[in-house]
Amino acid sequence: MGAQATPRRTLDCRGLLCPMPIIEVSKAIKGMEVGQILEMLATDPGSQADMLAWEKHTGHEILDTKEDDGLLRFYVRKTR
């Protein structure tokens, strides 16, 4: 992800299990504008596959995913 892509906000889903990260990401994205980037932090290992499915079904774009010692960071761009 380039330096031009600065997250508009960070959503902390650490310690939350399915379905909460997906529900919270969906709520957060609704409150943002097209083109803005959401950073989401998660510790549920299931959220990696869940976020890919969410991306596929909603059309929003995951620009990057980082994993560091069990902490997942997703960078999502609102596309519509």
């Binding site: 310690g15 299990l17 399915c18 529900i23 079904h57 059309g59 519509r80």
Partner: protein, 166 residues
């Protein structure tokens, strides 16, 4: 373009009214609306308790005849033969333990998952046959429920991409 595609549809039947059996359909429903899907849940037989105003706050985990017993934690004092579950207070204990470990894991309540589902335009269908059999009136049900029969639910489900019976 995602918005030009026909929206996916999930049709669920919730046939069980215990706390542990209320979670799976509502987790699926709240997730599906969060992915932009259309959702409808048909609450039938004991599943109707989940959308019954009076019963919803007091859904219980049965300690008897429940394949989830004993609880999967050695610290819960309901271990041992199934007959332990028949002791007075066992259901109350199992219920409070489940509520305890769900809240410790930051899991939402059933009410919260229902709210997410309704906020995402998910539909809650009350089975009118169950209402008739169990003497449940429309005013006994939570806000946002539509009452219908099997044919109307099947019509909704006939357009579904995913249909599950819980």
């Amino acid at each position: 373009m995602a918005e030009e595609k026909k929206r996916r549809r999930l049709a669920l039947v919730a046939s069980q009214g215990s706390l542990d059996m209320a979670y799976p359909p509502l987790i699926l429903a709240s997730t599906a609306v969060s992915m932009g899907w259309e959702v409808g849940i048909f609450f039938t037989f004991y599943g109707l308790d989940i959308i019954n105003k009076r019963k919803l706050p007091t859904l219980k985990v049965s300690a008897v005849g429940n394949p989830a017993m004993p609880p999967p934690f050695p610290s819960v004092p309901l271990q041992g033969p199934t007959i332990i579950g028949t002791l007075p207070g066992a259901t109350a204990l199992a219920t409070s333990f489940m509520k305890g470990w769900m809240s410790k894991a930051n899991m939402p309540t059933i009410q919260e998952l229902i709210e997410v589902t309704l906020d995402g335009d998910g539909r809650l269908f009350a089975c009118t046959t169950t209402m008739g059999v169990m003497g449940v009136e429309e005013e006994d049900l939570i806000e946002g429920v539509s009452c219908l029969g099997a044919a109307a639910f099947l019509d909704f489900a006939s357009e579904a991409d995913v249909s599950l019976f819980v």
